[in-house]
């Protein structure tokens, strides 16, 4: 099984310093935000890798890195075996990747008709020529996502959130991609609509053999969608492996914390044990293992030494406690 997308030790930093003059006068140093810190993963064809974590963990930055909207500060991303930047330079490869966004109200240009929105990638890549051929294709795509071809004449504001997300999916499919990055595609939707979209995405994956990089903060959604799973905390993937394995036997203390913190309808009447502490600022992350201030298992080594990834069963974990068998 070949991998579609591969990330090798990818980091991405942002300079969030104040203007140079003020920094000089008050004698403070540059402030660098490390959004993604030496992250590696690969996504085999026709599978879904999900990244999950709280806000500020870097999952959306990875989504943008994966489609080339950001360039990595360090490390390399390969798409279909080519370095991403050279793959992006070839239209024939570039059209094989596309993206679905979080906010169905912002992801469609409000001034464009739906048919033009969906047709834009077709025109940009010159996949089809002739008004008739394009119109037929757009109609087909709209039917494929559960809308009517006649909906192409309307503007985005005439649709509900779920329908807009379907339009967004139709647009993503119109470049005939093999790889889709889905950045929180359902977190702005109500649950009943979320179920529709998740089902649609799985149907499409099976029918078209799509490969997904699926970003979400919702563990239950991630569990439903993914083959493989990466749990992120402050720019690092702290645990990565098959979804089944991680959910059955979470090893990293942060993964356990997340699982405990999720309210679940099945938990009716039970109260969860709340975890203390908050996510620290990624500009000044804690030393050593960045999770140590909130970790029940932290010891002196965790405060000093950054844990490396080790394989434990089929799962990669970055935790001293797990490695030492203290977990």
């Amino acid at each position: 099984m070949s991998s579609v997308l591969e990330a090798i030790e990818v980091s991405r930093r942002f300079d969030v310093s104040r203007p140079a003059l003020q920094r000089l006068l008050s004698g403070e140093r540059r402030r660098i935000l490390t959004a993604v810190d030496a992250v590696s993963f690969d996504i085999p064809r026709a599978t879904t890798l999900s990244l999950v974590g709280e806000s500020g963990c870097g999952k959306s930055t990875i989504a943008r890195l994966a489609v080339g909207l950001y360039a990595p500060s360090e490390g390399e991303i390969r798409f279909e075996g080519y370095p991403l930047s050279s793959a992006r330079a070839q239209p024939g490869l570039r059209r094989k990747m596309n993206m679905i966004f979080q906010d169905p109200y912002a992801s469609l240009n409000p001034r464009w008709r739906v048919r033009d929105i969906v047709a834009e990638p077709i025109r940009a890549f010159r996949i089809l020529s002739g008004q008739k051929a394009i119109a037929d294709r757009v109609g087909g795509l709209l039917s494929q996502v559960g809308l009517s071809p006649a909906d192409g004449e309307k503007f985005p504001h005439e649709f509900s959130g779920g329908q807009r997300q379907r339009i967004s999916i139709a647009r993503a499919l119109s470049s005939e991609p093999e790889f889709l990055v889905c950045d929180e595609p359902t977190s702005a939707l109500d649950v009943s609509v979320q179920a529709q979209i998740l089902n649609l995405m799985r149907d499409l994956q099976q029918r078209l053999g799509l490969t997904y990089l699926f970003i979400s903060h919702n563990l239950a959604v991630v569990r439903h969608m993914s083959d493989r799973l990466g749990v992120m905390y402050l720019g690092r993937i702290v645990e990565q492996g098959r979804g089944e394995d991680i959910f059955r036997n979470p090893q990293h203390p942060y993964t356990r914390l997340l699982l405990d913190a999720i309210p679940d309808v099945a938990m009716v009447g039970r109260t969860r044990a709340p975890v203390s502490g908050e996510v620290p600022s990624p500009i000044a992350p804690p030393s050593g293992c960045t999770f140590h201030p909130r970790c029940p298992l932290a010891n002196e080594r965790c405060r000093v030494e950054k844990p490396s990834h080790t394989r434990s069963a089929d799962v990669m974990v970055a935790c001293h406690a797990v490695q030492e068998g203290r977990a």
Partner: protein
């Protein structure tokens, strides 16, 4: 006697193309010390219900008919001046986004002192001491030093704690919490819910918890009201509604939530979307999406009917032989 009774409440928004009924004859009550969850999709009217109770509907919205009774007194016809001693003192409110609900230019201590002194006879000294006490109660570390701090000096989760302190500091009997955890990360959510639960139990405060998150309701509420298109579809003890839903909408809603415990190939889905207020179908508002639709569902609007401990607005509740 129930602390709060809402009886056939109708809220309307007069507009150019006729009047929109945003809340259509909803009835429920909240007992002292009880947590009532109100759940529904966006646009179902759950936040509006809270705004109507506390008398802060955005114009041109107005209570068109029905009653709201607080400890037996009708408050739905009260003027703004009459409502003022009730807001904060008898009904507190918690809003969704802690980043925007605190005045950025006034220190949190001053906001607390101001709220308490508006409603309780307190000297400056006592009010200040109590402000520190409240910050301690909601779990702000080093409360005595931070009482003079400004909102931007707190993180999102800490600010929501301050908001909770502000809502409770004049010791109301009822708190309306409108999506109090939606803007927060999951691990912070759990802390805030636990805090709210603990404080309201300690002070014997009732809570109306408005949220779209069924999980939050399941672990927090005593009873739950499920809203759909401005109406209450089902209301009952949380365990019964969650585990044995009576209304087809509730049933669909529960099925569509992905579960952590077990993975399914496909989620149950309710096709279509909730109707806009301008196009609510006759009869039961859910009938076009319902898998168990009957002939009369398209014509008559069902009232809340009892089934065991829950009430559900569904004609399927009526045993067949009762149908004439």
């Amino acid at each position: 006697m129930a602390l709060l009774e809402v009886d056939r409440l109708v809220v309307e928004f007069p507009g150019r193309r006729g009047t929109l009924r945003a809340l259509d004859e909803i009835s429920f009550s909240i007992e002292p010390g009880e947590v009532l969850g109100v759940v529904g999709e966006s646009g179902a009217g759950k936040s509006l219900t809270g705004a109507a109770i506390i008398g802060l509907l955005e114009p041109p919205g107005r209570v068109a008919s029905g009653q709201i009774r607080l400890e037996g007194t009708r408050i739905d016809r009260f003027t703004d001046a009459q409502m003022r001693p009730i807001r904060g003192r008898r009904i507190g409110a918690i809003f969704q986004d802690p980043l925007t609900t605190l005045d950025p230019l006034v220190s949190v201590g001053k906001q607390l002192v101001e709220t308490m002194q508006t409603h309780l006879k307190l000297s400056d000294r006592d009010a200040r001491a109590r402000a520190v006490g409240w910050l301690e109660q909601v779990g702000i570390p080093a409360a005595a030093e931070r009482v003079g701090a400004y909102p931007h000096q707190f993180s999102g989760g800490m600010r929501q704690r301050v908001v909770i302190a502000l809502a409770l500091c004049a010791e109301p009997k009822l708190v309306i919490a409108d999506e109090p955890t939606t803007a927060l990360d999951v691990s912070i959510q759990a802390q805030i819910i636990a805090l709210l639960r603990r404080l309201t139990t300690d002070h014997g405060t009732s809570v109306m918890l408005v949220t779209h998150d069924m999980g939050v309701i399941a672990e927090t509420a005593d009873r739950v009201a499920v809203m759909y298109a401005g109406r209450i579809a089902e209301i009952g003890p949380v365990r019964d509604v969650v585990l044995h839903p009576s209304h087809p909408y509730t049933e669909g809603l529960m099925g569509s939530i992905p579960q952590l415990e077990h993975r399914v190939e496909r989620l149950r889905q309710i096709d279509g979307a909730m109707p806009r207020l301008t196009a609510i179908p006759p009869g039961c508002a859910f009938n076009p999406r319902c898998g168990r639709v009957l002939e009369r569902c398209r014509v008559d609007r069902p009232d809340l009917l009892a089934r065991g401990t829950t009430l559900a607005a569904c004609w399927n509740m009526v045993p067949m032989d009762d149908v004439t």
